[in-house]
């Protein structure tokens, strides 16, 4: 994801802003902007944490996020 998505992305639970932690960026010289490959989005209000994996943020509410049961 592009870092600018943070401007409109919010915590799905309480709609507060998110902060990016532990960000790793793609080393793409052509990119006009920072492309986040992995990291964590943390709600500035409730502290809930949302993972970014392979550049895709997962903003599912925590109770829908758990792995598929076996």
């Amino acid at each position: 994801m592009k870092e600018s998505l943070l401007e409109i992305l919010r915590c799905p639970l309480d709609k507060h802003e998110l902060e990016l932690e532990d960000a790793e960026y793609a080393d793409d010289e052509d990119a006009d902007e920072d492309e986040v490959v992995s990291g964590t989005l943390v709600c500035t209000e409730c502290g809930e944490r949302y993972p970014i994996e392979d550049g895709i943020p997962n903003l599912l509410p925590p109770d829908m996020r758990e792995e598929t049961p076996a």
Partner: protein, 226 residues
């Protein structure tokens, strides 16, 4: 079964591309009606393979397009199908949209809205994130008047909402959206064989198949945030 389990499966078995092919026949006509201005931000709810966002970038000068899907595998596939950095995909649920108030110019959704666990709440979420004057283009093939779609629920483990045209209009209004249009967009491209080919595996009569595609097609309801 959860949205994630059902549709991760579809994504890994390639059904995302099959849907894209079939849905494009009517989706392209609905997409062409959207009053997109250069630079607009568009959100595709239940994006599947993500084709709608790519089309809006290519043809309508949309600024940024985001596709949201409850299935991580769908979002992963969609991401792989493009290298346009102004198209982004994310995982999320219709009932808890992870966007700021008034942050989206247009919301698009094709063959996905009725999977929402609480569709009235989803409409309120959409009304919340749309800027004043923003539109919600809601396209569905599964709805009450399309009797040929009723049986689909049998083969899908996620509960589906089957409203009729009027229920769509009423629910939009209850969520605070203005209803600007409602239309059946015919699918004129799906091939319908000669009468001699019927019954087929899927269709008893040619009349049924004609009605399903050429007449009912896709139900489009357009809402506008006031």
């Amino acid at each position: 079964m959860s949205v994630r389990e059902e549709f991760d499966d579809w994504a890994t078995s390639g059904r995302d591309k099959g849907m894209e092919d079939r849905h494009w026949n009517t989706a392209k006509h609905a997409l062409a009606r959207m009053p997109v201005e250069p630079g607009d931000t568009i959100l595709d709810l239940g994006c599947g393979s993500g084709y709608a966002g790519r089309a809006l970038r290519d043809n309508a000068e949309a600024g940024r397009v985001y596709g949201l899907d409850g299935s991580p595998e769908m979002a992963r596939n969609a991401t792989e199908y493009t290298d346009d950095s102004d198209v982004g995909y994310l995982v999320g649920d219709f009932d808890s949209l992870p966007f700021a108030d008034d942050s989206i110019d247009h919301v698009w959704s094709m063959e996905a809205f009725y999977y929402a666990a609480d569709p009235h709440n989803t409409l309120e979420e959409i009304a919340r994130i749309l800027r004043p004057g923003g539109t919600f283009y809601c396209a569905v093939n599964y709805y009450e008047e399309n009797v040929h779609s009723h049986e689909w629920q049998e083969s899908i483990d996620v509960e589906m909402t089957r409203w009729d045209r009027e229920e769509y209009r009423r629910a939009f209004r209850e969520a605070g959206l203005r209803v600007a249009e409602q239309d059946n967009i015919p699918d004129r491209e799906t091939t319908i064989p000669d009468a001699s080919a019927f019954p087929t595996e899927d269709w008893d009569t040619r009349e049924d198949m004609v009605e399903r595609y050429r007449e009912y097609g896709t139900l489009l309801t357009v809402g506008v945030a006031p």
